[in-house]
Amino acid sequence: MHELPWLPSTLPDFNERCSHIADSENLIDEVRLLANCCISINQSNRLARAINKLTDENRNKLSGAFSPFKLGLVSNATMDLFVPSFIVSALRKGILLDVITADFGQIAQEAFDPESVLNRAKPDAVLLALDYRAYSFSANALAMSNADCDSQEALGFLKNVRNAFMQNSGVICITQTLASPPFALAGSFDLQKDGMIRKEIQKFNTGLIEDLNTTSDILMDVSSLANQVGANDWFDERQWYMSKVPIANRFIPLYADYLSRQIAALRGKNKKCLVLDLDNTLWGGVIGDDGLDGIKIGQGNPIGEAHLAIQQYAAELKKLGVILAVCSKNEPDIAREPFRQHPDMLLKEKDFAVFVANWEDKASNIREIANMLNIGLDSLVFVDDNPAEREIVRTLVPEVAVPELPQDPSLIPRTLSAAGYFDIINLTSDDIKRSAQYAENVQREQIRQKSGSVDAYLASLDMKIAFSEFDELGRKRITQLINKTNQFNLTTKRYTEVEVRHFEKSNDAYTMQARLVDRFGDNGMISVIICKDVDDCWEIDTWLMSCRVIKRRVEESMCDRLVDAARKKGITKLRGIYRPTEKNKLVKEHYKGLGFSLVNTEHDEDIWELNISDYKQKNPPISII
């Protein structure tokens, strides 16, 4: 039984390695390796226990590479068996999860009482792990709902619960659609008659999706997940009767992985780039051996259709902003032939932001791809039909997600989709443009390498910047940047959309968002600043910038603007903080470059100050619009 087919199978010495995890040479890589194999609930339990036993010092090491997240959990069912799997799945997504579990069935109490366990714990999100049995219309009923209760009432109850959590602790809720249990009273008619559970569940799900449109609460579509595996397998009445375990045990790792994707998306840890092999991945056969006439791609041949479906899947992901890249062991010219000459190829060269075909090893090539795109290795998914290549990349570049693939190419889109690497919780217009932007970036880089001086290069980019304070329109993108920017990020503070809105409305905060256009295209929103007003000083709580525009003096333009705004408000001093993480060494000297002085270093944090009156305008070659 293998419910997570995209993960490599477990290690033979898994238990042994869990016991000695604290002694491993590289704790982060070891945790990543153990969490990234397909493990049973018993093994999840073992690994979660080993993580919990780590010393504070070791935990701190982990929180450098894994983003901490506190999850509250309420349920109408017994969730104890789930928690270890939650922790392990979260690690798989780069999240160090802390779970606070409410007592069984304490849904309303936890939400409405401001002093409840969860409201006091102030989690980053609350999972409302409620299945159909949580709601009055189906409680203690099998297929026909209880009199006088319907899905409308259930939605009202859920809305009250969500609102209460928001009011009492400003926390967002992860909310589930309902899976339909495998019972009917009158067959298909169950779906036509109000008051039948099957019909009420369907109304509930439709209503819930609409309700969530107007909030920042997150949807977790459990109904589709259950459909994928089949309700007969998903529900296990034995376990419900024995201990109120809501789903068949063997699907707990799958459910946990599904949850962790939503948390990853909240933290901006979803993947950005799909790196594809060519031979026997994008087409059947080997272009170098079989030639243009010999490879199988397109209609009319089952293998050709299966590979076409893989191309379709990639093309559609691209429409959602996923960057595509090629990494192939081939003669460069031959690898490009099908894209240029084969009439049945759906993907064209221009669909790829980076196209690497050579005889170097794939691990180095993948590093190079990340480098050219200026994104982290942990943003990449590498798809290759060759198990040896997958293994090499997994070993040499453990940050990269490398799915196991079935031998049969017709099963590949399904497997990739089940892994949910690119799951998102919302879609901004910047996301949609993203893949084009990265391709433009690669072009910019090529120009930079050709043009001699940096300043001449920057001037040739013809950059235009627009500033404004936070607003409703930008809120989603601001939240996204705050949660996923790691390198150019001075303090790496993460805020939810609710908190961002709070800054937007606050009189004690000065906020700034910046958008950048250049001759290659619109970069969209690229930088965010949050200052807190402390007497006559602005303390820069957050300053971050998207990696694709670093080394372009954008920060100087922003600093000019910031100082200007501060001066107008009668502020005399700016205070900047650099809080080091594993990933933000890039900006250690950021404030120094802008003319701030280091005044103090406490708990590893560097405190920098700038007297407004001493500031010298930077005037970089960027015009303001």
Binding site: S40, I41, N42, L81, R238, N249, R250
Partner: protein, 82 residues
């Protein structure tokens, strides 16, 4: 395929050590629920899930009631497999 009881008990030993973290009990065919503190109702579910995954069948509710010792579990497994 026929399984003899010794064979089944060997496999159960691995499953037990995987399911329970405590190691201050001696595993034998006589080991029962009273011998393992961790063998509560939730760990019982973990145990039977692991057994089901290993042997490829599902216990029915009546059988689950009877899974109270290594020997009893092995008997039921043998019944189901042979």
């Amino acid at each position: 395929m026929s399984f003899d009881k010794i064979n089944v008990i060997d496999k159960l030993e691995t499953i037990f050590s995987d399911t329970f973290s405590e190691d201050d009990y001696v595993f034998s065919s006589e080991t029962g629920r009273d011998d393992i503190d961790e063998w509560d109702s939730l760990n019982h579910i973990r145990l039977l899930t692991a057994i089901e995954a290993e042997f490829g069948f599902q216990f029915d509710l009546n059988e689950i009631e009877e899974l109270t010792s290594v020997s009893a579990i092995a008997d039921i497994i043998q019944n189901r497999l042979n």
